[in-house]
Symmetry: C2
Subunit: 334 residues, 2 copies
């Protein structure tokens, strides 16, 4: 059992900065995230993209912002449980919560902060009957280890960055590689799209454009996919592996069942302190909603500051802490 | 007459960042500040001090934060009236305001944003009868041009950073330099305090510690000061110049008379958009108050973002603007 002052669910930029604001008030934090690394969407979805609206940074790469936030919170030694999804929240008493993850990790905390962004990212799946039967039996929604596909017949479905990047990468590894995309143009980076077209001309990728995945089949494990084009009957393609890369779709997940007031997949909060309807449970960043809400990282930073002061009072019998300025006092780590 | 979309009163960090958020919505800004430079307190009071709680900056010097914010807003070409204090606000109609400054500059704007920090900084003055008669006649509350004191007999009163910094600087310039401080210890940086003590030992500064300025006098201009120590009668010291550096004290000033709801020298706002009781007039940063308010720069940044979206709707007949992400669209300057 991990024991801490504040359990922060979500290790994106807002969850990370919450550690800093809590640390200034001498509160320790433990963070849980379903992704295997910190940074949330910034690490997972757009690490190389510049962000222009972080105050004081005319431009900063998403991955660099996470690096700087990690440096900023280092004096307060946050601890992490990564790659596990939160499942249950139990309020055992005032300032006494127990959180359990998908892997059975338990965290006891005096306050809980949900900084879950848009929620857990889950892969978008093709709408085909029995598709789930082939998951982990030839059907994957992400490439964990490319070596798994060496020498095999592989079909990739999708036309975004992930699909194109992996098509180029696996063209040299797979025994036979096919790419199915429902349009004539790719959604991903034009450069990579051109590489895919060049590999198709060299015969290293078999392209099915304006085509959809219309069926999957096999005994026990995946053995073929059916591909429907604009005309004629579907083409049946024998394959060892199908990798569907239709992107990630955010889900609120188990948090929906915790008894929180939810409006359109966001948690309703009070703007005085970003508290939810459960005393001691806060929601900050993109996962919350209130009148005037803008889903901006910089707004989550503000929410984290007000949350920390309220959480301090909540776990100290209502005692308020006086705001001290870091320009005057500096930072005292743990 | 200057015409703009938003007139921002106060060019500190929050006023500057408001230009960015307004610019993203294609709104132009004009800023007015009583200080002769941008940056507010960060430039005037603590330019060299590191700030530790700007999200994404483990540490940044106050002056550097202002420099970065100026770079960030440059694409939106803000215009400035510096060194003038706002005096009057007239609402001529919906989305039609007229602002006038102490120097008679007029600005017509569709919305007004008060980002005035703690207000106008005015020097703290010694409580002595007739002290005002000597202002600009030998008595100064700031050092504008150190050369003015070359070869003269100078008395500095105060024990904070400004007093110590100028005592060290003027020790080489003044013909004779005395420093009066009411305590035995200085309030300013210990390093500078030690320099002052060393200069006193070398006979370059005459120190009056645990002493107060108890009188000033002279015909037409300042000719002497009286200094009272712990014991005995006051010492009369002949001097050409007295520089009182007791710090700056913020005043709300003429803004108090504009009909805004004010609570303890701060302007009451609605947290949905940081609007005041006058439609079209907003207050952001340290100058506003609401339940849960923390006087942090990072909170002012959030307030600026919500204000900009509301101001856009206010001046466009209630039409809301869709939030676009800079990671997706980049920045389009004017």
């Amino acid at each position: 059992m991990i024991e801490t002052d504040i359990c922060i669910i979500g290790a994106g930029p807002v969850g990370l900065f919450a550690v800093f604001e809590a640390g200034l008030l001498n509160l320790r934090c433990h963070l849980i995230d379903a992704l295997p690394q910190t940074g949330g969407q910034l690490s997972e979805v757009y690490p190389q993209k510049p962000i222009y609206d972080i105050p004081g940074y005319p431009s900063i790469r998403a991955a660099d912002l996470i690096t700087e936030l990690e440096k900023q919170i280092a004096p307060f030694h946050p601890t992490f449980t990564l790659g596990e999804r939160v499942e249950t929240l139990e309020k055992r008493g005032e300032a006494d919560f127990l959180i359990t993850t998908s892997e059975g990790t338990t965290v006891a905390a005096k306050a809980v902060v949900i900084a879950g962004g848009l929620g857990c990212f889950e892969p978008r799946k093709p709408e085909l009957p029995d598709i789930e039967a082939y998951e982990r039996h030839g059907l994957d929604y992400m490439v964990r280890d490319p070596e798994k596909y060496r020498g095999k017949r592989v079909v990739i479905a999708g036309g975004g960055d992930s699909a194109l990047d992996w098509a180029v990468y696996l063209a040299d590894i797979a025994g036979e590689l096919s790419l199915i995309h429902r349009r004539e143009d790719f959604r991903g980076a034009p450069d990579t799209g051109n590489k895919v077209l060049a590999l198709a001309e060299q015969g290293k990728i078999r392209l099915f454009l304006s085509s959809t995945l219309s069926g999957v089949g096999g005994e026990g494990s995946l053995q073929y996919v059916d591909i429907s084009g604009l005309e004629g009957s579907p083409t049946r393609l024998e394959t060892d592996a199908l990798v569907v890369l239709f992107g990630l779709s955010p889900k609120l997940g188990p948090i929906e069942t915790w008894g929180l007031n939810i409006d359109k997949r966001a948690i309703e909060v009070d703007t005085r302190d970003y508290s939810t309807n459960i005393p001691g449970v806060y929601a900050i960043g993109d996962i919350n909603t209130y009148p005037g809400k803008l889903k901006l990282i910089l707004c989550g930073f503000h929410e984290a500051a007000l949350m920390a002061h309220s959480a301090y009072a909540y776990m100290n019998g209502g005692k308020k802490v006086t705001l001290k300025y870091t320009t005057v006092t500096g930072i005292s780590g743990f």
